[in-house]
Symmetry: C2
Subunit: 699 residues, 2 copies
């Protein structure tokens, strides 16, 4: 579509520039859970996810942000279709490449996390061969997490975007290769450190891992954040993609378990839009939850209007402005209780026709409501100078409590009447019975607490999609007399095959299982007595199945000894705090002596300015403002600089970064000459200079 | 690995510069059939294809070529694995991006073939946001052809590389959407037109289509090449990816059917290396066939040493230099006749142990031979200043004629003994019986002439992979009483599912078949008599099956009326010749009056130089030289300029291109300023200027 020309900014009010100091104000477009490819074969809704992503990119251009930050699940499928990947690549190339000068200087190592064996850096705008206008940083989610074990290790769809320089993939977590490694690994978070003027920003990303594991790692003090020494002078953002809502013990990550040096957590995975920053009891950080940009289930949370957030940061202050995604198909949801309605409206609960008539009226009302929502949003946008958009078919969901109703008509047939007026005619209705009669669901629930298969918000199709694989596998293997392959291992393999589109998962499992079975049999009886072979095989199989089970639950169970219990979690709140110099930090620079204390001393030239601009430090809460211009209190007490005790022989690289940043950066790349203009730009605030591309040719 | 630094060129003799005029000499790295991903899960051979591709890229850097030209099947799988695509992207970014100045000026429209709806150009080095050092041009092959019908139309793996700017994908053929379109479409070939100094090069690419269709289109004069008016002043390369060896009627493309303005055909698909240009009887063009860079079958042709070609072009002269791929695993193949051997060596044909012993000796000899090959090649490279490479396990194939042998031992078990000494222990032996006893194979052969399932060079696994799907489908559908779905349509769908990894092929077919079946039933009996419904369904099904069959064979059969027969093919030799102005050519520029005759007149400033440098035109044969420096005869008679009659109202854009090239190029992109330095470079021969990236920051 359009290019990122200046013309596009016409008629758009510039975002509220925080405290009138644009050179030190970082503007970020926050979005998450774009689920590109969701329902892509649906003739009506197929392009919804990609359209929303396109709108987000266009908003980023329009608001002239410094970068885009995504919190996981950019893709819905672990192995996105070719179409899907193609469109995302094309959009990223279209909207994030260009001549806009990059003003965020990279202070961390551009090669941190780069593709092994290749010379190009991990951070795309540090590559002199690419002309990046708006860098995109992203972690992976649970849908698009790394899988496979090819020559390049586990890869995910973001790796494809990263290797082409279209995205900066952060928070990739090395999967433990074996049990011993899993015991010792933990999770290491290396930040991307950025600077714009006097504002310094640490981006800490940690891609999705199973909630159980994250919970365990947090409790066990094994989440290691590599932070600069003067970490509290930075604005620190943590990106995570985990359950925030509890779905059972260890099936979510408590809000209050993170490091106190964090200022803002960007929480992905949860689809409802809760951008307004929420404080966390007893902690100094806030949480913002942008929510998904496409509804992947017709549940209450998804019916909230979809937004992205404009995050502006100045020093330790930040501001979050929700921006509606005006192109997103409206979605309204409601519920009715037929027994109550029959009483109130006076129709017969046994009359299917009357019930259908009543429900049709309700659905019509919801369609009208959705259309009104669209029209209002459209009118608002037009008033702001945006072009008019054609009204899309809305999503409508009516949850029907059928308690005391003997027979209902087919909900799919019911929806046919709304074809052409609704985007989801096939599943507009869901039926459920109220609590007292829903007890039959209990057993299912106990088996799979996290799946909530009896959730009344789910349609039949949605419920079907949640049927537990393992049960099916058990029955199938028994029927085929294939139990040798093992239920647990086999069902894991099938889940990988289905959920992650891993075409080799089953094959790999079968050969591994057979090979180790053979080994086991050999070990158990070098001279096998043909009479006993059945017993030996059975014994080996049982051992292996036990191994599988243990491996599966390993981190929470085996770790129990040293991990704190859930009750102790308060005590581990700062468990992620970590002495940078203690664990092989990136910030070592042993050939350069630095003073043991006092950040400012190492950087005499910058001291005055730096301390003047760092208003809130130490344990003081970062100031969150929601669309507010209040910025008077930027100068605050700045004594009491909290210093970690510096261990002997290690230098405090973070402390010297501000005075040596140019050196540090030119060290970090082989192609120093071509990048010189970019560095100059970031340092000298020259607004018009580009990352490594010279604008001299303008004439 | 290494970057494209100048250091790498140390110790390497520069390629023979043709006639000492480097500014007008185009250097091209020719390669094809890289089949990346072939056998990628094999623990020994898995990385062979990617390693060969890496070597090709390194050779391109080393020989400082202007661009790389690939003739299809870059990928082995239609949907390459994530690992595979990742590695190719990483390698292309590593070796083809950089500061090397591009010296080939693009004269055709950079937006020709670009992604619809996006602003970036189709030719990567015309994108000011990418710093391309070595452009790669490629057509698709039969393995990596476009598939699917998503919002972006049919896509192939090359589209993924093209949309990220890593490759310039040419020769994509629009698939006919329906029967009517197939009748009228034909194949249109739009060239990429390049210039370096006085040498002008037309690249005509046509990706693989079924041989039958290509044959038909050629015979029917429906292959339309859009050529500049003064086409014979250009050096014209045609890239194709079709069978060159006849596998049956219409199962290959005759060598002599192409346009006489072509100077060189680069033939992909055939895996044996035949780089030395071969003349074609009665034609003025040559054919070069680089062959694959990895052996995908253990057949004779693949045992020829693998090479790529360095193609240098100056005016109408060219030179092809084969360059061995020294990293490719050596492959030796041989055959033995056991009966003859038994007689000669005096062993008993009925003694399995004696036979095995004999065969083991043979295999050992072949291993030694392969290792010698490697050692010689390695020694040669070391003598030329290359580093030593560790010796890989060789590929060995022994074809055993077992005529008159009653029983053979298991070839897989036979190979186990060679584990650790061979790369292919499982299929080192193949067995066949000599012609007289092979008659049982005849029926199979008649059914599937193109598959040659009884080819003695195929191992059992290879043969199995060629079993006809349709036969299996017919039996299966009959067994399941699913004949309603139609054999032909269903087997096409299954082939798509299997061969092209299209996960939706079967689903799409089933719903289409059922929908049209329902329609057909309705049309045949608005008031359906339940008694007759079986008959009606059967009638409709038969009609549809007939349709499928016709559609499948459509182009060759329906076209018969107007197409020439195979005997007439000589007469259609110049059938592809096409008046550029007749078919909506790209070269129209109707707002600019151009003279009707005389190429030189429109470009007065360039006339002298241009005519001086165009030695061979018209029907004169292009001069092919193989590693030769003979370049004295560059000035030749240059009268008799063959002019196509210019039709009224069309202007001759090609004729004015040479004088207006700068204008033409700056029109072609929105980002003219940033690209100015690159154009200047191409025009002014300034060796050190870059494509759109300014080197001012060197200091």
């Amino acid at each position: 579509m359009s290019n990122h020309s200046d013309d596009e900014l016409e008629g758009i009010p510039p975002p509220t520039i925080h405290n009138g100091d644009p050179e030190s104000t970082i503007k970020i477009m926050l979005a998450t859970d774009n689920h590109i490819g969701y329902n892509e074969r649906d003739p009506i809704r197929g392009q919804d996810s990609i359209n929303a992503f396109k709108e987000i990119l266009q908003l980023a251009v329009k608001h002239d942000v410094d970068f885009i930050l995504l919190a996981g699940d950019l893709f819905h499928e672990n192995r996105p279709s070719r179409d899907c990947l193609y469109q995302v690549m094309a959009l990223l190339r279209e909207y994030t490449l260009g001549d806009r000068p990059i003003q965020i200087e990279l202070l961390s190592d551009p090669n941190d996390g780069k593709a092994a064996g290749y010379s190009f850096p991990a951070i795309n705008y540090e590559d002199p061969n690419l002309n990046i206008a708006i860098p995109v940083f992203s972690i992976h989610g649970n849908h698009d997490d790394p899988q496979g074990a090819g020559p390049e290790g586990a890869l995910c769809a973001l790796d494809m975007l990263s290797v082409t320089g279209l995205i900066n993939y952060m928070g990739k977590i090395d999967l433990p290769l074996n049990d011993a490694e899993a015991q010792n690994t933990g999770i290491a978070i290396r930040p991307v450190l950025l600077r714009k003027g006097n504002t310094r920003l640490g981006l800490y990303g940690v891609g999705n891992v199973k909630d159980q594991r994250m919970h365990f790692e947090l409790r066990s003090n094994r989440v290691r954040m590599y932070m600069p020494k003067d970490k509290d002078d930075w604005f620190n953002i943590l990106l995570i993609h985990q359950n925030r809502v509890a779905h059972g013990p260890q099936q979510s990550v408590p809000e209050g378990m993170f490091d106190d040096s964090i200022d803002l957590i960007v929480w992905g995975h949860e689809h409802d839009c809760r951008i307004i920053p929420e404080p966390v009891a007893g902690k100094r950080y806030y949480i913002t939850q942008p929510g998904s940009s496409v509804a992947t289930s017709l549940a209450d949370g998804e019916s909230l209007e979809k937004h992205v957030a404009l995050l502006t940061i100045h020093g330790k202050e930040f501001q979050l402005t929700p921006i509606p995604l005006r192109g997103v198909r409206p979605f309204v949801i409601d519920d009715v209780n037929l027994a109550e309605a029959a009483e109130k409206e006076g129709f017969d609960l046994n009359d299917k026709i009357e019930i259908a008539k009543y429900l049709k009226n309700k659905v019509n009302e919801l369609i009208d409501k959705a259309n009104e929502q669209w029209d209002e949003r459209n009118a608002r946008a037009i008033a702001e100078g945006e072009p008019e958009l054609p009204r899309p078919l809305p999503l409508v969901r009516l949850k029907v409590d059928t308690t005391d109703v003997s027979e209902m008509s087919n909900p799919v047939r019911f929806g046919q009447e709304f074809q052409g007026r609704l985007a989801n005619p096939r599943d507009v209705l869901t039926f459920h019975r109220s609590k007292k009669s829903a007890t039959r669901g209990t057993k299912v629930k106990a088996d799979q607490p996290e799946l909530s298969i009896d959730d009344p918000e789910l349609s039949v199709a949605e419920k079907l999609s949640k049927v537990r694989v393992q049960t099916l596998v058990r029955e199938y293997l028994a029927a085929q007399e294939l139990q040798l392959l093992g239920e647990v291992g086999m069902s894991d393999a099938i889940e990988m095959f289905v959920d992650k589109d891993d075409p080799h998962a089953i094959q790999t499992h079968v050969s591994t299982a057979l090979r180790s079975l053979m080994k086991g049999v050999q070990a158990n009886g070098a001279e096998v007595d043909p009479e006993n072979i059945g017993d030996i095989v059975e014994k080996v199989r049982e051992e292996q199945e036990q191994n599988y089970k243990e491996r599966r639950e390993e981190k929470p169970s085996k770790g129990k000894g040293k991990a704190k219990t859930a009750d102790e979690s308060d005590a581990s709140m700062d468990s992620m705090m970590m002495d940078v110099d203690g664990g092989g930090s990136d910030f070592e620079m042993s050939d350069e002596p630095a003073p043991k204390k006092g950040r400012a001393k190492a950087a005499p030239k910058k001291t005055a300015a730096a301390s003047k601009k760092a208003p809130a430090r130490g344990k003081a809460k970062a100031k969150a403002k929601v669309v507010s211009d209040d910025d008077d209190d930027e100068e605050e007490d700045q004594d009491e600089i909290e210093e970690e005790p510096a261990p002997p022989k290690r230098t405090n690289r973070a402390a010297v970064l501000s005075s040596h940043q140019t050196d540090a950066c030119s060290q970090s790349s082989k192609k120093a000459p071509a990048k010189a203009p970019a560095r100059k730009a970031a340092t000298s605030k020259a607004a018009n200079v580009n990352t490594g591309r010279c604008d001299e040719g303008e004439t």
